[in-house]
């Protein structure tokens, strides 16, 4: 057996032909275009702002400056070049470990440019600097990015939630206090001379005789004072509302590093939550004057944490937990199920480096829980998913945010590149599952953010120069095996085949994964490049190929779930505007015309068409009357004459009164009346 085949089957090198790859800095061949990220424009770094949107990309921010100050022509081109240079310097600063706000890093970047090109650059940049209107911290795609970004968005969401609740609670406190105040003013003490004096103010007190006023007010009209039970209830409600520890300055912390600690905090606070919900409910009832002691006292006497509905809990702050899926003893993974299936609004940011292991599968496992908002994304895609991250944080129930930060091999490769490679290869696909988005699974799950979703894995053009320096082009698939090359823990699954060994039995790993190449006669390989961008062929062992197949299967299952939706979407024809045909299943806007329910001999009114104009009811208020909608009907035909029926029909401007035939054949002038009634039959 030749050495490549032996390595592929066993994972061991049998001779000296194959070379190990550990610590040689080999990268996937498609990384060749991304040698220096500081010279490229892409989503990162990001600016975390206090405004809306909460996060913007630095490139987008600079493009906004350009649009704001330069409309076109040479001036715009010059401004664009200057801004690009600042942007590049900021990227270089961040890559070198700098940190700070937009303002600070701008100044630092300009200082570096001044060092290179002189003071004129600073002067040229002054108008651009003045147009920089957004402040905030700049964050790059590094190990801390997921936590910083998610925490920032969580604070924004919670601040808005807290503001709304605080406003509501303050409003209730203010209005309840007015009740208490009004009660005092009507009390004996409130009507006393000292209280009246205190109510006027110091300057004009000498103009009033407060004792006389107090005597005048000795007997106020109406009942005096609130019942004692109501006063006590309002006082205790006010105490709870004013001391609540969830919103405002006294709010407790809701951010945790351990799932068990967060769960314990939630359980401990449940009684306080029940107290607040009860207080708000009582306050609203009191303010609406709708508190009925016989009904509500027993209900609220038994009101405790078990009575809290999910909607109640959703009004309170959510619990943000930053957890590590790869902790040594698996405690986090064990607690995860409890946290996600309980009623606590847990927002769990789960970071994992173990893309091929358990950590990488937790999000897809959580899909089965049904009402958990699940978002999986590598950190490189988080900016693109920012709105969905926000949706997860706003979601009324628990949410799991599973993120691959992309920090492997101690950061030898830029985390952005590694994280993007995880998404690109389907090893860690981006998906969101929003239980509130639709009633069916297919529409709840979205694969937005995954490149070329119609393929098992993306395919890209790849060009290189051969031995004769001639350009060769081919198309390379980027599979989980290619991604594995970024992970030093999997380096032993690769071995380099020297140029002399590039035989026909070596086939691209993608061909083996999708079954295009025969398993018995071939050995899978991937293209790699070294530090000088020279191409290498690396054979792959069967163990890694199995891992790759498993992730490919997981992707296929995700695609199967969403496929029905996309098929439906693709084949749907937009609805043409059409007149809604009157059909049996449409809600009727009006009752059926009364004529269908009457014989032609009986007088009737098309009541639903009555315009309440009072013509008929003025003519004969006993024969014609209004129903509960103030629309006329014939209440008593015998209460009037046929003549009045005909007259009412003639007077009705919308012609909805139908006199029918006369009941009394002896009524005078019947022939003429029947002739007049004929148009209304």
């Amino acid at each position: 057996m030749d050495e490549p085949r032996f390595f592929h089957l066993t994972g061991r090198r049998a001779g000296a032909t194959l070379a190990p790859i550990a610590d040689r800095g080999l990268r996937p061949a498609l990384f060749a275009r991304f040698g220096d990220l500081t010279r490229l424009r892409y989503d990162f770094p990001l600016v975390l702002t206090d405004g809306d949107p909460s996060v913007v990309s630095l490139s987008g921010l600079f493009d906004g400056i350009l649009d704001a100050i330069a409309s076109g022509g040479l001036e715009r081109d010059r401004a664009r070049r200057l801004l690009r240079r600042v942007e590049r310097e900021i990227r270089a600063l961040l890559a070198g470990g700098s940190d700070g706000t937009v303002d600070a890093l701008w100044d630092e970047a300009v200082a570096r440019l001044v060092t290179k090109d002189g003071e004129q650059v600073r002067r040229d940049l002054l108008p651009l600097r003045a147009a920089l209107r957004i402040a905030g911290q700049i964050v790059d795609c590094d190990a801390e990015l997921p936590a910083r970004l998610v925490t920032h968005l969580w604070h924004a969401v919670e601040a808005r939630r807290a503001e709304a609740m605080r406003r509501d609670i303050d409003g209730l406190v203010a209005r309840l206090s007015q009740l208490v105040r009004a009660d005092f003013l009507r009390s004996e003490a409130g009507r006393s001379a000292p209280a009246l004096r205190a109510g006027i103010g110091a300057r004009h007190q000498e103009l009033f005789d407060f004792d006389a006023m107090a005597r005048l007010l000795a007997k106020p009209s109406g009942p005096i004072g609130l019942p004692e039970s109501r006063r006590r209830r309002i006082a205790s409600t006010l105490t709870v509302l004013q001391a609540q520890p969830f919103f405002g300055d006294r709010a407790r912390s809701f951010s945790f590093r351990r799932v068990d600690v967060a769960l314990a905090a939630f359980r401990e606070r449940l009684p306080l939550m029940a107290d607040l919900v009860r207080a708000i409910s009582v306050a609203e009832l009191e303010l609406a004057g709708a508190y009925v002691e016989a009904t509500h006292d027993p209900y609220f006497a038994d009101f405790d944490q078990t009575a809290l509905a999910r909607e109640d809990v959703a009004r309170f702050p959510s619990y943000l937990v930053r957890a590590d899926a790869d902790d040594g003893d698996g405690t986090t993974r064990a607690l995860l199920m409890e946290a996600l299936t309980g009623r606590a609004p847990m927002k769990i940011l789960l970071e994992t480096d173990d893309v091929f292991g358990l950590g990488g599968r937790l999000a897809t496992t959580a899909l089965g829980l049904g009402d958990v908002f699940v978002l999986q994304s590598a950190s490189a895609g988080l900016y693109g998913q920012a709105l969905r991250v926000r949706a997860a944080l706003e979601y009324a129930g628990p949410a799991l945010l599973s993120v691959f930060p992309g920090v492997l091999d101690r950061g030898r490769l830029p985390p952005y590149l590694v994280a993007a490679a995880a998404t690109e290869s389907r090893a860690f696909p981006t998906f969101t599952y929003d239980p509130s988005a639709a009633p069916d699974l297919a529409h709840r799950l979205s694969l937005d953010g995954d490149p070329q979703p119609e393929r098992p894995w993306p395919v890209h053009p790849f060009t290189y120069a051969d031995d004769e320096l001639q350009q060769v082009g081919e198309r390379l698939a980027f599979t989980p095996v290619d991604f594995a090359l970024c992970d030093p823990a999997l380096a032993s699954s690769f071995a380099e085949v020297p140029r002399a060994g590039w035989t026909a039995e070596l086939v691209p790993a993608a061909d083996r994964l999708d079954g295009a190449a025969d398993r018995t006669d071939t050995v899978p390989f991937v293209w790699a490049i070294d530090a000088e961008d020279r191409l290498r062929r690396l054979v792959v062992d069967e163990r890694l190929l199995r891992l790759a197949r498993r992730t490919a299967d997981a992707w296929a299952r995700l695609s199967e779930i969403t496929e029905p939706a996309s098929v439906v979407a693709a084949t749907q024809v937009p609805d043409a505007p059409a007149v809604p045909a009157p059909a049996e299943d449409r809600p009727a806007a009006a009752e059926a015309p009364a004529s269908e329910a009457h014989g032609s001999d009986d007088p009737y009114i098309e009541t639903p068409r009555c315009t309440t104009c009072n013509e008929c009811t003025t003519l004969n208020g006993r024969m014609f009357a209004y129903n509960e909608n103030r629309q006329a009907y014939i209440a008593d035909q015998s209460a009037g004459t046929y003549s009045e029926l005909v007259e009412a029909a003639e007077g009705c401007q919308v012609a909805i009164i139908h006199p029918g035939k006369p009941r009394d054949p002896n009524e005078p002038g019947l022939d003429e009346l029947m002739a007049r009634a004929e148009p209304f039959r």
Partner: protein, 325 residues
Amino acid sequence: MIPVADCLLRTAEAHHDLADYRSELVPRWCNGCGDNAILTAMQRLCRDEDLAPEKTVFVSGIGCSSRLPHYMNTYGFHGTHGRALPIAEGVKLSRPDLSVFVSTGDGDCLSIGAAHWLHALRYNVDLTVLLHDNHIYGLTKKQASPTSPLGTKSNTTPMGSVLAPLNPLTITLGVQTASFVAQAVDWIPDLLYQVISAAYRHKGLSFVRILQRCPEFMPGLFDPWIQDPKRMLLLSHADGVTVGPALAKVYPNVRAHDPSDRAAARAIAEVEDPLPVGILYRDPAVPRYEELRHVGELRTVERVRRGLEAELDRFTIWPEDAATP
């Protein structure tokens, strides 16, 4: 705010009947006047939405239309001529918890109150505005109004009016921030009710023009449309007002119209025959003034006092011989 309270409130609140919204005053409108139908539609709405009478306000200006608050057993404000809208805006801004309706007429709103009309549309405060449009000043015994048809003979135009009438719908739709525009007629009460109901539920200023008969001073004006239902054009859409089979049987001329289509709404607004009725335009995304100006702090007595004192302190002049405070 919290669902449990909603639930309990429902158990405690009284259910209202239509009679609960009728005041003790008997309407003094003429027999056959379209205002009666508008009043009834409003009372039905209040009943069906279970609006608490003490939380409901009707504001009006001057004219036949503006008598409506007297006949509602709710709070009311019979304002000055043309000023119903700014009064209503003030009520709503001070008491956002109230449901505020405006009854105004073609003279009140489109003539002396025209400036307020345009700016109310611009502010988009959450009000339901009913424009009772009978094409005439009726209360003052027949003078031409801004919507009187060309040639209308009245006390102010004895030789016939020479100015073309205003079209309130096209003007309203011309204001970029108009968020709800509809037209109804008093003689199709079911549609009138549906339109008003949709207007009430719209968050923002909903402008409903109601073509209304004045049998005393403009007799027969709308007879061509009343007597020939085919000349009515009913706008129907799932996002607007749906026309049921019974109504479609009487008024067969039904057209699908998406209320989010502003261009189509403008085109429809210009049509006078057949007469379009239904929701012409609706955009719930237009920002409301109360949202834009909201400062996030309750206007409590303490806050107002604090602000006043701070303002007055700016002008306090201490006597020279007074001790420094």
